[in-house]
C-alpha cells in the first residue's frame, strides 16, 4: 500500500480517533486493555481502508469497523466491571457542569451502560452518537423495528440498574 494512502488514512484517523477512544472506554476497564483494543481497531481499519470508497463518511464507516472489532473480532473477554473500578466508570468531560449532582448522575448512568452486554452497549453507543434507528439497524444488521424495541428495553434496563 502506497505511502500516500497511509498518510491520508493516518490523517483521517487522527481527526476521528475520539470515536475509537469512546468505544474502547466503553468496552474495556483499564488503560492496557484500552490501548490493546485501540491497536486492534486501528489494524482492522487500515486493513479495510483500501475498500473504503468514500461513498459514506469516514466516521460512519469507522463506527462499523470499530464496533465489529470490539464485539466480534477482539478475542479477550471483558472483565465484568465492578463498582469499585471507579476510574473506569467515571464519566469525564471537558466542560464540567456547575452542578455537581448532574455530574454524579452522569457517572452513575455511564457506570450502568458499562454493565450492559456487548450488543446492548453497541446500540447505546450509536444512540449516544446521535445515529437514527435506520443507521443503528444497518450497522448491527437487524431490522429498524427491532432496533427500536431493543433500545426501549435497554432504557428500562438502565433505569433498573440505577434504581434497583
Amino acid at each position: 500500500m502506497s505511502k500516500k494512502l497511509e498518510e491520508e488514512f493516518v490523517k483521517q484517523l487522527e481527526e476521528n480517533q475520539n470515536i475509537v477512544h469512546k468505544i474502547c472506554r466503553l468496552y474495556t476497564n483499564d488503560q492496557d486493555a484500552h490501548n490493546d483494543l485501540f491497536q486492534e481497531v486501528t489494524i482492522q481499519l487500515w486493513r479495510a481502508y483500501p475498500k473504503f470508497r468514500g461513498d459514506s463518511k469516514f466516521s460512519t464507516w469507522m463506527y462499523r469497523v470499530a464496533l465489529n472489532t470490539a464485539i466480534t473480532l477482539y478475542r479477550k473477554s471483558t472483565r465484568r466491571v465492578k463498582t469499585q473500578d471507579y476510574d473506569s466508570v467515571q464519566f469525564k468531560i471537558a466542560d464540567r457542569p456547575e452542578d455537581d449532582e448532574q455530574m454524579e448522575q452522569l457517572t452513575l448512568l455511564y457506570g450502568a451502560v458499562k454493565q450492559l452486554n456487548d450488543i446492548e452497549k453497541a446500540l447505546v453507543f450509536l444512540y449516544l452518537e446521535d445515529k437514527n434507528y435506520r443507521e443503528i439497524a444497518e450497522t448491527m444488521g437487524i431490522s429498524e423495528v427491532n432496533a427500536r424495541v431493543k433500545m426501549n428495553r435497554i432504557k428500562t434496563k438502565l433505569t433498573n440498574i440505577i434504581n434497583p
Binding site: E40, T72, L106, L128, G141
Partner: protein, 213 residues
C-alpha cells in the same frame, strides 16, 4: 428515559483518561500484528489442512512398503486417493471463499455469520477426513483379508479353521472401534479449540439473533 438524553448531551465532550495519539504513534500502530479471532481461525485452518494432508502422505508411504497397493488393487488405491485430494482441494477453495468474504465493513450480524460459516467449513473438513479414513480403511480391510498371505496363512492354521467368520467380524469390529475413538477425540479437541476462540462471538451472535425473534 430522559437521563440517557442528558448523557447524550454531554457525550461528545467526554475526554476519558486516554491521551490522544499523534500521527506518528498512529502510523506506528499500523505496522503491528493483528490478534483478531479471524487471524486465529486462519492459522487453525492451515494447521487442519496440513495435518490431514500430511497424514495422507504418511499413510501413502507406509502402504507402499507393505505391498498394500498390490493387495488392494491399483484402481481402488489410486482411485480413492485422487477422489480424496480433489475433495480436499474443494474444501480449500470453500475455505478461501468464506475467508475472503469476512470483511469488517459489513453489518455486525452478517460478519458474525460469515465467521461461523468459515468455522463450519472446517468442521465438515474434519468430519470428511474421519469418515474417509473410516470408509476407505474398512473397504481396504475387506479387500486385503483374502489377499494378504499372512492372514490366509494364519486362517489356515488348525486353530482358526471354522472360525473365519468370527475372525472377520472381530477384525472389522476392532477397526471400527478404533476409528470411533479417533472421531470422539478429534471432536473433543475441536470443541475445546473453537469453544475458547468463539465463545464471546457466539454469545453476541445469539444475543443479536434473539432480537430478531
Amino acid at each position: 428515559m430522559d437521563q440517557l438524553d442528558i448523557l447524550k448531551q454531554n457525550w461528545q465532550s467526554q475526554t476519558g483518561n486516554a491521551p490522544q495519539f499523534s500521527k506518528e504513534q498512529l502510523g506506528g500502530l499500523l505496522a503491528r500484528k493483528s490478534s483478531s479471532i479471524v487471524k486465529w481461525l486462519f492459522i487453525i485452518a492451515i494447521i487442519e489442512f496440513a495435518l490431514f494432508i500430511v497424514l495422507g502422505i504418511i499413510s501413502h508411504f507406509t502402504n507402499e512398503e507393505n505391498n498394500t497397493i498390490e493387495m488392494i488393487g491399483e484402481p481402488f488405491y489410486y482411485g480413492s486417493m485422487i477422489v480424496h485430494y480433489v475433495v480436499i482441494l474443494f474444501f480449500i477453495f470453500l475455505f478461501y471463499k468464506n475467508y475472503k468474504s469476512i470483511s469488517t465493513s459489513q453489518p455486525t450480524r452478517s460478519l458474525m455469520n460469515k465467521i461461523l460459516k468459515t468455522r463450519r467449513t472446517m468442521k465438515w473438513y474434519i468430519w470428511y477426513n474421519l469418515v474417509y479414513m473410516m470408509v476407505v480403511g474398512m473397504i481396504g480391510a475387506v479387500i486385503i483379508i483374502p489377499n494378504d498371505p499372512r492372514i490366509s496363512e494364519m486362517l489356515d492354521s488348525p486353530n482358526f479353521i471354522g472360525h473365519e467368520t468370527a475372525f472377520y467380524a472381530t477384525f472389522l469390529g476392532l477397526t471400527f472401534v478404533i476409528f470411533l475413538i479417533l472421531c470422539v477425540v478429534m471432536y473433543l479437541i475441536y470443541m475445546v479449540i473453537y469453544g475458547i476462540l468463539l465463545r464471546k462471538l457466539k454469545r453476541n451472535y445469539n444475543e443479536l439473533k434473539r432480537m430478531e425473534v
